[in-house]
Subunit: 504 residues, 2 copies
């Protein structure tokens, strides 16, 4: 009989091998988005498909299941001990992987690739009819996926959500969204009624790309993103990819006539990157060395982008540097004008360009439509009408074209149903964590104004990053903040910031 | 009993899978040399080691051997038929892979990694003593490798050479090198005695990096490198990596005070790249879709770099473009001065900076020392003295420091003994192929002067690239040129070019 320690060692080695293999795919995917020559796409798809297949074979290997089962018979210590955490997470992943028939996984992969191509074309032509049959296929396959995975309480959406935000439930999210929505709509309305209308034209002056890159890197580095363990490249759809220890890659896109896009995008991805860089490198490949959920991941990006990056204190330090970097655009603009401009609130059609207040309403709309699609209460053909009606209800505006409406996001075309809520969860988690950090560290504004971001970064390293998957997102929030998920800290943050900016 | 067609199909699928897996490693290696953050090296080594291990397991799988054996019992048609070519090459690779004990492969990989690190440090300090123990280990392991692979005629070097130039023998190369050396030494001497001394100072004026990159890409594209199927990046040690169909990557390095380095480096790598791009994409993963030898590969790079790129005709087209690209450096320099400068011949210490005439002497020196190291006639500790003596004999100069002598090349530190001769073979093959192309197409100078490079490129596509491994290098040269390997076309080319330039 092998000892528990031997069994555990075998498990860890296999888990690390699987992660190492997956990290090869991560690098290939990063390259696909940043450097791949146009004619290389087919070969890249073949490479990724091979690696995914090899990974899937290992993740569903019955010997892995036996190993996990054998360890589950042993005493692994308290639930938050690494041994327990890693075995529990291995069980979870093994069960999810083996519950899905290989034929369904392959069909989803195939349809998602074709569907994304159709989406690109449909979006360009703003032609929902072109995308609709693909959306129908995706929804049908995701319904099958939910059935195969299983769910409690008759809510198939729970099964999909669980892939992105382990342990979260549709009911819980719907509850907190509901209160948040009412208070947001009220705040948006108050802002709309305010006499203030910030002049944003200074943000669309000429910002040379090279200077944007240098300034963005300077800021990312200053807040704590380690450029010896990472880099910044250009991608059409910006993302952050943690390849592995010592290698985390950010991407952004530049528009020389629009300052905020690349800058706040870089801060956002740097926030994701600092989570990746803060993971325990020794534990790479195991749950203790992995981020705990997409919602917590998003809390890190949104905290650095918005809570820190759009604060007046941050710009007290960075604005003189920005004026040096972009003298033609900014030398005549006072800090207060700039700060008001980067915090303008107004209902808009495109989620990724939405301000901090209205952003969450874009998420709620998608969350509701996704649930209805999955239950069949909403047919894919009826999505444009439902979308436009919701936009009217939530934001008081309606897209003229589906390209600015239900065709704007890539997620559904790739099969990512259940993903959107993690964005709004991220905003709420960010507020809760930031409030707790300030309770522990004192007001951070004075530090930010001096260009000191280490106290917050180190607090996040200790309280969030280094813990890996030790706790599920909701548990982590409870452990760190002493409170369950709540919309209140977010609303407090938004009211404080925007009541001041708009003199409400 | 499965049919021959079924067996063959199984073989092809497995070979393609192995190549696809190896191509993932190629992309990771390319990234390591071009984009990897400094802290990511350990993780990258782990990724590459995993992929190499998975590849090795498949390449030595007894079931693969059984499949090859079964096919060898069948009638596969003439030797140059794809079926025969692919089965023969599969046998060759399987035998080589299985002859090497896994322990030796792993030890070589481990020692090569550490040895390269020691070489970098020893070269910086010009301290051979630091590198010597590593060279001793490498030589001992390569001796073991040669014994494990086996060789005829008592020449262990043949076993190593065969890895890079399949089918070539040490005796054959030594024979042709011997005649070539005598004639080269005579030509170098005649040039040294000539009254002409080209002024090369115009090549060390200021050449801005961005303009160098643009101009290099313009030239690479004009000669036929397809930028939709490839790209150009920066690397400390330039190389070309064919990742797979539609994806071939060149690298170069820029020195703003030295024009030829990046420009001819880019043309050189583009020559390699055009071979990769000219391979049959449908046959990817099989011998019919692979380059036949390093010597033939080098013939392509040297042909475009030297036979084309340093010709007067080439610059009749490109010099006005160069003057536009680098007005400050070149507007006052006549074409004749520029052309003389880029063709200056003089004995020098560093191989990669050597001119077209003396370059081959650098190779012969290494070829001789390598053989002696392998037989034990030369001890690693005695390499510096032997190197310096040979330099004196061949080129009449001696390095003051080992960094400019026996420590200059990376090859030995990485275990690549037997590689160097392919560089000089490449020069001879290039001359033979270029002479044959001109016999078939007529003088190409008039075409080059008009910026037309398609005739030569298409001739190479048909006669060399598309054939893959259909013929071994020596057979290919015989089939295409009607002659065996010969030093004569190279000497004809060199005499013609340099007798004119130096008025000999």
């Amino acid at each position: 009989m092998p000892s528990t320690a031997d069994l555990y060692q075998d498990l860890i080695e296999e888990l690390k091998t699987i992660s190492l293999l997956e990290s090869c795919g991560s690098l290939l995917s990063w390259d696909e988005q940043t450097h791949l020559p146009p004619q290389g796409t087919e070969h890249r798809a073949n490479q990724l498909s091979l690696l995914a297949g090899l990974g899937h074979d290992r993740k569903t290997d019955p010997r892995l299941g036996d190993l996990i089962s054998a360890l589950e018979q042993e005493d692994l210590g308290p639930a938050e001990e690494p041994t327990s955490v890693n075995v529990r997470a291995a069980r979870r992943r093994f069960d999810r992987a083996t519950k899905l028939p290989k034929s369904l996984v392959q069909e989803l992969s195939r349809v998602a690739t074709l569907s994304q191509q159709a989406w690109v074309s449909a979006r360009q032509a703003s032609d929902f009819a072109e995308f609709q049959p693909w959306l129908s296929q995706i929804v049908a396959l995701k319904q099958q996926e939910a059935e195969a995975l299983g769910y409690d309480g008759g809510v198939p959406y729970d099964a999909l959500l669980d892939d992105y935000e382990p342990g979260a439930t549709t009911a819980e999210i719907a509850g907190v969204f509901s209160t948040l929505r009412d208070e947001l709509v009220e705040l948006v309305s108050a802002i709309a009624d305010s006499a203030h209308t910030p002049d944003t034209r200074l943000l669309t002056r000429h910002y040379p790309q090279a200077a944007q890159r240098t300034f963005g890197l300077q800021a990312a580095s200053a807040i704590g993103f380690d450029l010896d363990s990472g880099r910044l490249d250009i991608a059409a759809h910006p993302f952050c990819s943690g390849i592995g220890p010592g290698d985390c890659r950010l991407t952004t896109r530049y528009d020389e006539s629009h300052f905020p896009g690349a800058f706040f995008g870089t801060l956002h991805e740097a926030g994701h990157g600092m989570y990746e860089q803060g993971l325990n490198a020794e534990a790479f490949g195991t749950a203790m060395g992995e981020s705990t959920s997409l919602g917590i991941h998003e809390s890190q990006s949104r905290m650095w982008e918005n809570f820190v990056g759009r604060s007046l204190a941050f710009w007290k330090h960075f604005y003189p540097l920005a004026q040096s970097a972009f003298p033609a655009a900014l030398s005549d603009a006072p800090l207060s004008d700039f700060h008001a401009a980067i915090n303008v609130v107004e209902p808009s059609l495109i989620r990724v360009e939405a301000d901090e207040v209205t952003y969450n309403l874009h998420i709620m709309l998608r969350f509701e439509l996704e649930q209805q699609l999955l239950t069949g209460d909403l047919l894919p053909a009826d999505v444009p009408a439902a979308w436009n009606e919701s936009m009217q209800n939530y934001l008081g505006i309606k897209p003229e074209h589906d390209a600015d409406g239900c065709l704007q996001d890539i997620h559904w075309s790739g099969g990512a149903l259940g993903y959107f809520p993690t964005y709004a969860l991220g905003n709420m988690y960010a507020a809760q964590l930031f409030q707790t950090a300030e309770s522990a560290l004192g007001s951070l504004d004075a530090e930010f104004a001096k260009g000191h971001f280490q106290p917050l970064k180190q607090w996040l390293n200790t309280n969030v990053h280094a813990r890996g998957k030790q706790y599920a997102a909701s548990e982590l929030i409870q452990v760190v903040t002493g409170q369950p998920l709540s919309h209140k800290p977010l609303m407090q943050h938004l009211r404080q910031r925007f009541e001041e900016l708009y003199s409400l």
